[in-house]
């Protein structure tokens, strides 16, 4: 029973952790992308349709590609064109809702949901925790890799320099805008993997509301982690756990709390956790500001 709960948690953790790690890369370089929710939704949609054409692995790749593309667009607007990142992010979210609603009607006979036939879904591995997708192991390993990358490599330091003090980085001969472009693209790609995982390897269907605030929970996780990818893993697991707890408790017959209140749990926990840690975390100085050479 505990094992099933852990399995539930592992499955629910993946999109939040991947998205949060991607956002950590972006925020370290000074880009604040609130369009993650949109990236999750679009890539879930693109991944699902990709999977029915080129198979599950291809579907995941297409999801990542779409995520990377959106990340790239965001970066172009907010670096070279000095755009307001907050507004660009809101634009991405709106665009994603419109695109997916439109695409659903165009490509699926059912406007509400599109199910992926099981032969096009990613094979799950049989473990003591239940059926687990291989993507889960990527999500478990990736934060450590990114942690190492950010703290121990030259490229990671460059990323940090660009976020903390773009002027100094520029003087040191670093192309600030290009670094931010790459960071945002990689971040978008990871969020894209998270989105495609949801449709291709977890739910097996797409709906227009399937991102369900996960992009914003990932933003909250980034705040909670203070830009430490390993803590983002912990945060993702925490929110995954509360989501699963709701689903799991709901299966107990005669449980007194209505299902809707249990479904609120992850959002309430997010609020509590974020309001508990603020003030102790520090963000890059140039976060959210376009860099202009004087």
């Amino acid at each position: 029973m505990i094992l099933t709960l852990i399995g539930f948690t592992l499955r629910a953790m993946v999109p939040i952790t991947l998205t949060a790690v991607g956002e950590i890369i972006g925020e370290t370089a000074g880009l604040f992308n609130i369009g993650l929710e949109g990236i999750l939704l679009v890539s879930a949609f693109a991944g699902a349709f990709g999977a029915t054409i080129v198979g599950p692995i291809g579907g995941l790749a297409i999801g990542m590609g779409v995520g990377a593309l959106v990340g790239l667009l965001f970066a172009i607007v907010s670096t070279y064109w000095k755009g307001t990142q907050m507004v660009a992010g809101i634009g991405i979210n709106l665009l994603a809702i419109g695109f997916v609603e439109f695409g659903m009607i165009r490509f699926s006979s059912n406007a509400g949901a599109f199910s992926i036939p099981s032969e096009f879904q990613l094979t799950r591995l049989n473990t003591p925790f239940g059926l687990l997708s291989p993507v889960i192991f990527i999500a478990l390993a990736l934060p450590f890799v990114i942690y190492w990358f950010l703290r121990r490599t030259r490229a990671g330091l460059i990323l940090k320099a660009v976020g903390e003090s773009p002027e100094a980085a520029d003087v040191a001969g670093i192309n600030v805008n290009r670094v931010r472009l790459v960071a945002s693209t990689v971040g978008g790609m990871l969020a894209g993997l998270g989105g495609a995982y949801m449709s291709v390897a977890w739910f097996g269907f797409v709906t227009k509301g399937m991102s369900a605030g996960r992009g914003f929970i990932a933003l909250a996780t980034v705040v909670f982690s203070g830009l430490n990818p390993i803590l983002a893993l912990v945060g993702g697991a925490l929110f995954g756990f509360f989501r699963s707890l709701g689903l799991w408790v709901d299966t107990i017959p005669g449980f007194p709390i209505p299902a809707e209140f249990l479904q609120m749990l992850p959002y309430i926990v997010t609020l509590l956790v974020v309001s508990g840690v603020i003030g102790r975390v520090r963000f890059p100085k140039a976060l959210g500001q376009p860099y202009k050479r004087e």
Binding site: V77, M86, I90, I97, G98, A220, T270, V274
Partner: protein
């Protein structure tokens, strides 16, 4: 003029945001963004096998060609005006309130609950509007207090409040507010609280005057009262405002409350006005995404209460025409409109958009200058 002075002294990044979203120079960039949005929408339609020209002409005809089309556009515009104000008021105070959706849902629940008691018409309308305003305000105080006491970023907290409201609504609509005759909706608003039609055969009701009136009130508060000046000053330059003795906490709280009131009224516009059943649906039906669409309206309207009126009519037209578009000879789903909105907002994030197209800019600058000269020479002639 005072505003320009404030802007010059504000931190660079805030100055960027402010200039992008409010812009002293007129609506050229909004129009440009709208054109880009419609063009990209056309490309997407064309790629996916629709006929964009036929679709847009059906849309425009349906939206603006006759009295009925305009009335339907206005009916859709009414709630959009109010959710756009929610975003704009808070933006003027330096906050990104993207929680109109949740405030709208909570207000919707409050509005349908007026069906539990009977009152004479007139009084019932007022009570329903008051319920909406109070519910919206209560739901927006949460994120404001979290921001002020704990420093929680309003983007995260408002979205979390949206989802909490979403599930709370599903619960309440399925239990105490449920319509015994049809389980997927609430009890309808009684006829004594419903606004009567302004144009027969359309969705436009007298409720639209509430939206326009509220927007004028907001204009008055922000530009002609001390507290409104403080809100704008704090949004433009928080530290200078603090030195000047303006309490940022007060302005943030006020902007959130006004925003919540506005979002609440938006729910009333739908449930007391344009909705055909005057009931809220389990998955929120007509209320869905009105809060988010309002952000697009706000940005195209340059976050100014008067600009919002025009941009809401534009987006209302897109939606009203879009409904006809999906019935036409080449049926394009109305969801296209939201895609166009997204592109427009994304484009609007680029400051001094027109600079990307130097030629267009050069010409539009010339145009404005020429028009101004024309206007001033006309004025001189008159004064003579």
């Amino acid at each position: 003029m005072r505003e320009e002075k404030l802007e010059r002294n504000s931190p660079r990044y805030l100055r960027g945001i402010h200039r992008t979203l409010t812009g002293f120079h007129p609506a050229i960039e909004s129009v440009l963004a709208a054109i880009i949005g419609l063009l990209i929408g056309a490309v997407v339609m064309w790629l996916w096998g629709y006929d964009p020209i036929a679709a847009y002409s059906t849309m425009l005809k349906g939206a603006f060609a006759d009295k009925w089309g305009l009335a339907d556009s206005g009916a859709i515009a009414a709630p959009l005006i109010l959710t756009a104000l929610t975003f704009s008021i808070c933006l003027r105070a330096g906050m990104f309130n993207i929680g109109a959706e949740g405030q709208l849902i909570m207000a919707g629940l409050a509005v349908v609950s007026v069906g539990f008691f009977s009152l004479p018409p007139g009084l019932h309308h007022v009570v329903a509007l008051l319920f909406a305003m109070v519910a919206g305000a209560i739901w927006s105080i949460g994120p404001a207090l979290l921001k002020l006491t704990r420093g929680v970023h309003e983007v995260v907290s408002t979205i979390m409040f949206n989802w909490i409201a979403h599930f709370l609504a599903i619960y309440l609509i399925g239990t105490i507010l449920m319509n015994p005759r049809s389980a997927d909706q609430t009890i309808p608003v009684p006829s004594t609280a419903i606004f009567s039609k302004l144009v027969k055969g359309t969705d436009l009701t007298y409720a639209v005057f509430v939206a326009i009136g509220f927007s004028l009130i907001i204009y008055f508060i922000l530009w002609h009262t001390t507290i409104g000046y403080e809100v704008r000053a704090a949004g433009l330059n928080p530290s200078a405002a603090r030195y000047g003795g303006i309490k940022n906490k007060r302005t943030i709280l006020l902007s959130f409350i006004l925003g919540g009131v506005s979002a609440g009224l938006a729910a009333a516009m739908i449930l007391l006005g344009s909705s055909s059943t005057h009931a809220m649906y389990r998955l929120h039906g007509q209320l869905t995404n009105v809060g988010f669409d309002g952000m697009a309206v706000a940005m195209v309207g340059r976050n100014h209460p008067i600009g919002i009126l025009f941009s809401a009519l534009f987006f209302g037209g897109l939606n009203a025409g879009g409904r006809l578009m999906q019935l036409g000879s080449s049926p394009v789903p109305v969801q296209m409109v939201r895609l166009v909105m997204g592109v427009i907002v994304f484009t609007m994030s680029i400051p001094e958009l027109a600079r990307i197209f130097p030629a267009i800019r050069r010409y539009s600058v010339k145009l404005v200058r020429d028009l101004r000269q024309l206007g001033s020479s006309a004025g001189r002639r008159q004064s003579r």
